[in-house]
């Protein structure tokens, strides 16, 4: 897989009159799993959709390697960046295999849409379904699956793109602990094999354990960017989340169950 980095340059975004992101600059490198964390409404999902090219209403630039995202042909961009939005939808009663096959859309010939997927497409789909353990329910309608199974199908669709850049928004929501760890292991493996992977997540324990770098958003700006130990400091967490550690904090083992809310 070709190593490609994804960088945001002075991103500013307003939704209506509300400033959602202000002067966000950072770069996500290949072979790294970058986590975006922050409170609800901090702008994490908006930032990810801007990086994916889904949200166009912003100022600033996004670059993929040396190329401006805005100048990339749509199909080329789709091959470079695989994106899983927050609360992904499936309309109609498509089965797990059909949803995963949609990940190959950028590779399918536009005027030959009734043909069967090529061998290469089929291999990518099979590999993605195998790695996410979706094979057992490949022929079942996605809407009849549990939340966790559904999320794995969406993840399979993202992996089937075989893009060098993967952006996923809260993929472990609704998953049981086993599946949460499995999902994060998959994403870390994708990063280790040369991918640039960015994940939005809320679980700071898992973020500390799996992410190579973290971007902490607060008040629509970057509060901290660096390794988990650099970012997840009591001071940063107090500022961003208004939570404080118990009397003897241990930053390397963030057991949030012991933390308390800051009350004035």
């Amino acid at each position: 897989m070709l190593a490609v980095n994804l960088a945001a340059h002075a991103i500013q975004c307003r939704l209506g009159s509300q400033l959602v992101l202000n002067n966000i600059s950072f770069s996500a490198e290949s072979t790294q799993l970058t986590g975006i964390i922050g409170t609800n409404g901090a702008g994490k999902s908006t930032l990810l959709s801007i990086l994916a090219g889904a949200e166009k209403n912003f100022r600033g630039r996004v670059t993929v390697g040396d190329t401006e995202l805005a100048h990339m042909p749509l199909n080329e961009r789709a091959k470079q960046i695989a994106y899983l939005p927050q609360n992904p939808q499936v309309h109609w009663d498509l089965n797990a295999q059909q949803v995963t096959e949609l990940g190959r859309t950028p590779y399918r010939r536009r005027f030959n849409w009734l043909s069967e997927p090529s061998t290469e497409d089929q291999q990518a789909v099979n590999a993605a379904m195998r790695s996410t353990q979706c094979e057992a329910f490949a022929q079942r309608a996605v809407q009849s699956l549990s939340n966790g199974e559904r999320m794995r199908v969406h993840l399979a669709r993202v992996l089937a793109v075989q893009a060098p850049i993967i952006l996923v928004d809260e993929p472990i929501n609704g998953l049981d602990p086993y599946q949460q760890i499995h999902c994060l292991e998959l994403l870390r493996r994708a990063a280790q094999s040369g991918g640039t992977v960015i994940i939005v997540l809320h679980d700071l324990d898992l973020a500390a354990r799996f992410c190579d770098r973290l971007l902490l958003l607060h008040d629509n700006e970057v509060l901290s960017l660096g390794s988990p130990t650099e970012v997840l400091t009591p001071a940063n967490l107090l500022t961003a989340y208004q939570i404080k550690p118990p009397v003897h904090p241990n930053v390397n083992n963030l057991n949030l169950a012991n933390w308390e809310r800051q009350t004035d």
């Binding site: 994106y83 109609w92 498509l94 949803v99 399918r108 009734l114």
Partner: protein, 330 residues
């Protein structure tokens, strides 16, 4: 292409062609049983004229109008990701009907017969321009849908106003009868007028087929898969306006085909919105051909209007579908 879908398409195409042939040889009314076959066997000029100038245009129009309604219905449902969407939802049918009604009202239709379909087409095109102007450049699906509903309401109100102001009751009756939809007495001229526009409309919609498939996963995901949403909206809504607008312009309003046919065929197409487009086109054509044959075979004092038959058969069937769906949900 999956074997199951190939078989389905072959079956639909065979049904469509059989109904097409049946419609060509069947009498145009209950009172005239198989006169045409008798005349054709004697190689008479009357038979040839009836065949070429009445039967072929009528049957061909049933085929292409039905195909347009089925195709546009499936495309609108795919674009809006809603099984209740139909071609009329963006206001195209209502506006085409208004255009044709104005042609009646102004008297143009009696001076120049082509004014009627031309008025219909102008109304449909105007609706699309209005739709995209109101909805703006970055229109979401909800905005487009609301704009379509508003345009439909305006067109409906204006049509009612024209009827209200109609100088004599006969003109009003004529308008009302026309709006019920019919294929009776349509000529080759109607076919030549609607045909090319429909072909362009079909091509536009079919170009958006891969996009309807990706849109099953919502807009954000479709964009990330390389789909240009604006482009898709223009192709599907523009294509619908052309083929359904041209259809309404020559036949009047024919309801329920665009809604029911995709519903019937969706499961058989593995729920794939792209496969559904072709299947619905063949299904819509078959349904309208069958409805037109029914209209001609049902003994009645006046020929029943096609739009009346499709709604009469379509609406109870739709209720039955809803009932089945409820049973599944419980």
């Amino acid at each position: 292409m999956k074997v199951g879908f190939t078989k389905l398409l072959l079956l639909l195409a065979t049904t469509m062609l059989s109904l097409f042939c049946l419609s060509l040889i069947l009498p145009s009314s209950f009172a005239e049983p198989f006169l045409l076959l008798e005349l054709l066997s004697k190689d008479s000029d009357i038979a040839r004229t009836i065949f070429l100038e009445l039967r072929i245009p009528r049957t061909s129009l049933a085929l292409i109008v039905g195909a347009s309604l089925g195709l546009a219905g499936a495309a609108m449902q795919g674009l809006l990701r809603n099984p209740l969407a139909e071609p009329g939802v963006v206001g195209v049918s209502g506006s085409a009907a208004l255009g044709a009604t104005l042609a009646f009202y102004s008297g143009l239709a009696s001076i120049m017969p082509l004014a009627l379909p031309l008025g219909g087409i102008a109304g449909a095109l105007l609706a699309v321009i209005l739709l995209f102007t109101i909805a703006g450049k970055r229109a979401g699906i909800a905005t487009l849908l609301l704009a379509g509903i508003a345009i439909n309401a305006i067109a409906g109100a204006l049509t009612a106003l024209v009827l209200n102001l109609s100088p004599n009751p006969f003109a009003a009756m004529e308008i009302i009868f026309w709006q019920m939809g019919s294929l009776a007495d349509r000529s080759l001229l109607h076919l030549q007028l609607a045909g090319p526009l429909m072909l362009i409309g079909w091509a536009l919609i079919l170009l958006a087929a891969p996009a309807t498939r990706a849109l099953s996963l919502g807009e954000a995901t479709a964009v990330s898969l390389g789909i240009n949403i604006r482009n898709t909206q223009v192709k599907i809504i523009g294509g619908t306006a052309l083929c359904v607008g041209a259809g309404v312009a020559v036949t009047g309003v024919i309801g329920f085909v665009g809604l029911v046919v995709p519903h019937l065929l969706r499961k058989l197409c593995n729920n794939d919105p792209a496969q559904l487009l072709l299947a619905s086109a063949a299904g819509g054509a078959s349904l309208l051909l069958a409805a037109d044959i029914a209209v001609r075979c049902i003994p009645a004092s006046a020929e029943l209007k096609l739009g009346v038959i499709t709604a009469l058969l379509g609406a109870p069937f739709f209720l039955y579908l809803i009932f089945q769906l409820r049973k599944l949900e419980q």
